[in-house]
Amino acid sequence: MQGNKKIREELEDLAAGFQWPEKRPDFSVPEGYFDAFPRQVLQKIALLPEEVVPGAPGKSPYGVPEGYFDNLPASVLEKVRRVTPVIQLPRPHRKWPQWAVAAVIAAIAALGGLLWLPQNAGRSPVDKGLAQLSDAAILQYLDTETSALDEDEDDIYNHLGNDVAQNALISGLSDRDIEEYLHKDAPASF
């Protein structure tokens, strides 16, 4: 470690007091290796085939027809134009997840409707109006406005009472008495 002060300081921070070696290990390298190295590499490149090492020094072992590269763009373009356009078939989509999501949404909507409807179904405007009236107001109305209703009830009972009286009279007569009554008192037009 000869050089950089910054790096030495960094090492001192990381391992205070540790003695780093002053010199590099003396690895053995064959004599003249670095002098010969560039020539060796160039020789190797020259021996490799052209497609492996484009533009390698020395002659290429492969031949190319004359004018090949000049005509290449035109022949490629011609081929491209001749190629039938590719029609892309629609990819089969799996629709079941979409349907499942739709079904879940529909079920939630239906359930919400069922829970909401009973509270609101069949509520006529009269019912809604009554709901807004106070109990006291309804009681007052009933106390003052029941006579008409009572009269109607009397009529019903009166009719009912007549029928009952007639039935009671008829039930006391024999069939023969009734037939005699009908023959004797019946009007001619009947």
């Binding site: 470690m1 050089g3 950089n4 790096i7 090492l11 990381l14 391992a15 540790f18 003695q19 780093w20 070696p21 010199k23 590099r24 290990p25 003396d26 690895f27 053995s28 390298v29 064959p30 290796y33 670095f34 190295f37 560039p38 060796q40 590499v41 160039l42 190797k44 490149i45 490799l48 492996v52 090492v53 484009p54 533009g55 390698a56 020094p57």
Partner: protein, 182 residues
């Protein structure tokens, strides 16, 4: 020392291509060699990998974006070559991770100047105990004195992660060397 931009310009011209490439190799070969050598230890492996690196450089230098730094790009290729090589040894060989470490340690001990009593060799042994990527981070920082910013570009890792990795590496190395020294 020729300017990288000029060398790249010359490389793009067929008549100066080979000369420019030779100059690039001359400029960077030693730094890349030592970067690779510290990772694979043996000279023969380092030589093979360095040759592969420069063959790749020859193949792809036309596509190199000139706004990037050539030096960073070269280190990136060399680092990938090392990691691929070590990975292949684990996969295709019969060696486990431990065997690889032992294999590298054996290669280290086979070095003609190896001396286990010397701190620089003890440091090498300690470095071999680290995981591959941590080893790269430590070597780039300690030996190459590479700024984290540049290292971040070489390794495509955030500076924070690299600092953390380096700190872990230093702690492990110190612990290892102290344990070895008794």
């Amino acid at each position: 020392m020729e300017n990288d931009a000029l060398l790249l310009q010359q490389f793009h011209q067929p008549e100066t291509r080979e000369a420019a490439f030779t100059a690039i190799m001359g400029k960077y070969q030693e730094r890349l060699y030592w970067h690779i050598r510290r990772m694979v230890i043996g000279h023969a492996d380092a030589d093979d990998l360095l040759q592969n690196v420069f063959i790749k450089v020859w193949n792809h230098l036309d596509n190199f974006k000139e706004n990037a730094q050539l030096y960073t790009w070269l280190y990136r290729i060399a680092t990938n070559e090392c990691l691929t090589f070590l990975e292949q040894q684990k996969k295709h060989g019969f060696l486990s991770l431990g065997d690889i470490e032992n294999g590298l340690a054996e290669k280290l001990k086979a070095e003609s100047h190896f001396d286990a009593r010397k701190l620089e060799w003890q440091l090498q042994e300690a470095i071999l105990q680290l995981p591959d990527k941590q080893r790269i981070v430590f070597n780039l920082r300690y030996y190459e004195e590479m700024p984290y910013e540049q290292m971040s570009k070489v390794l495509s890792t955030s500076e924070g992660a690299l600092k953390a990795s380096y700190h872990h590496a230093v702690k492990k190395i110190v612990t290892y060397i102290k344990a070895m020294s008794g």
